[in-house]
Symmetry: C2
Subunit: 355 residues, 2 copies
Amino acid sequence: LKLSRQKVTLKDLAKRLNLSVVTVSRALNDHPDVSEATKARVLSMARKLNYHPNSIARSLVQKKTHTIGVIVPEIYHSFFSEVVSGVEEVASQAGYQIILCQSNEDAEKERKNIDTLLSKQVDGILISVAESDRDPQPFRSLRQTGTPFVFFDRYLVGVEAPRVIVDDVEGAQQLVEYLIQLGYQRIAHFAGYPQISIGRDRLVGYQKALAAHYIPVDPHLIIEGGFNERDGVVAMEEILTRGDLPEAIFAVNDPVAIGAYKVCMEKGIRVPEDVALVGFSDIDVSSLLAVPLTTMRQPALQIGQEAARLLIRINEGEEVNPSEEIVLKTELIVRRSCGSAIAWQKRHVKVHEGV
Amino acid sequence: LKLSRQKVTLKDLAKRLNLSVVTVSRALNDHPDVSEATKARVLSMARKLNYHPNSIARSLVQKKTHTIGVIVPEIYHSFFSEVVSGVEEVASQAGYQIILCQSNEDAEKERKNIDTLLSKQVDGILISVAESDRDPQPFRSLRQTGTPFVFFDRYLVGVEAPRVIVDDVEGAQQLVEYLIQLGYQRIAHFAGYPQISIGRDRLVGYQKALAAHYIPVDPHLIIEGGFNERDGVVAMEEILTRGDLPEAIFAVNDPVAIGAYKVCMEKGIRVPEDVALVGFSDIDVSSLLAVPLTTMRQPALQIGQEAARLLIRINEGEEVNPSEEIVLKTELIVRRSCGSAIAWQKRHVKVHEGV
DNA sequence: CTGAAAGCGCTTACAG
DNA sequence: CTGAAAGCGCTTACAG
């Protein structure tokens, strides 16, 4: 049993066993046409030589790589790493591997990621778009390649493709109506870019909530930016510069809320006494803050699982409507950052206390 | 310009251009032998037909996939997602993609991950071992395949391979000596399994710190377990069951410390007044806890970058010693959870306050 | 049940 | 500067 550096191939096995490559291949794939005796001999030799099938070669002929590309803005963000965990779980159970790409919120890098994944012949792509995405063209040409793709959480407005999301309008509206019911009137929104689905939809939910309570929308209270902590810092600083603190702030997501929160802590502004604060997503740190964050929970793991399942179904031939939409449930999580919850919560919502 | 479902290949381009496949291939690869005029024609046709080179086919002949496998216990843990982010950054800049696998801390799944990655002909593997790993055999046979692999953060004791780590002994010792200097004597250790490098080394550091101050090691104060939040919960509950709280606890890492912290919060045990608590890693939540956590910072992003660089160097032919070790710097981060820091910090350490 | 032929989409010598 | 031949390691018809 020599330990050669050369990788052992079907040919090597065939030679040693005095069989054809075809038969060895079939034996390894447990093809019914091969005798049990032959299978046993082949398996044993394969083990002895530490044979690893070359799935690259197999992919070339079968035109399936059993690989799916996953593009996230930043894997380091716990929402996305939880989604990816769900994707990996479903994928690996179904015999797929994932190639992980980060766009770093950059449309150009995202386009390159897509090209790379196509070159690698992935069976499909799962993508949550970069905040800087504006141009639907790359997705149109992606569609033309025939490689299926599914959006999760964020999609680019104007691109039709299957997606796994939550009802962002409804979720945002519920959250803001909750603030209104607590007695807040001057509610600011740290909004995301409107070309990105979650930016647009959470803004719409905010507006609908105000409208439902006859509160006029004050455009000065809407500060548009990206989806990351630094954007929350910037927005909060802008609010402070103006010197006119709102009663409450609805941030487009938890990272933005946490950016705002950190600025408040630094400047000695008390949450929720001086300003109430709510986010969206319920990422892991949100419950652990010194002032735990009220937020709308998104089932991140499940989003990843459903997105992977949907993509795999499409890849395995199922006809899926291009506008297929899987909408998962959100859940209002009331914690201390929104203030005055104590009385209200007893009547309406289960309270999740941060520890 | 028809939008065919069939993928366009070199052959298609060649036919349209009245050139051979070879010439088209060379033009696309910017080979010096091809005339500029031809290159221009080829590029333009490639763009027109939305051609994506099949890197699977290329890999088959070149025996390089420009893909590296990354195996982490759980991507959802922020330490690992930060490492992976560093890996992805360096890899993508060097033209490599990453296949991400989770072992879920399970040695058997890890072994399967390795097999899958070998089948996919990855150019190398980056791995932080599962806590349940005991058997070095899978790594020995991995070595025999000739596919390079590099450990990061955690390696399996008894396996020789290049690795990117921190000085865990030194870091743990420094942390525990700091506790001792604060006046604590009965210091418990929530230890990791000793077959995993970080479990062994952080325990050794703990013992060395005690020895340096002539404090006898009390085996009852060492509780062995895994590396996750649930293990911290279990260890803390065991300590409490005994009804004999130590003065301080050194948890093998931040997730374990946070598990212990949550139990304390639930049971009304005050940190640090009733028990001081320190971790290891400085993950993102640690600074955000209501009682921010004192810990030893590991440069996670940099660990990922260095590991990727090292693997790529090996892959590109550089001779690297099998016991090559890249040791990165740790940094003591003093926050409130260790107590009594106020006086001491002024003389010795920079204070990072959680917000 | 086993095998010879052809081919997946490329690249690598080798010729001219 | 361009191309014909061979081959990477497999699988898929087709024969026997």
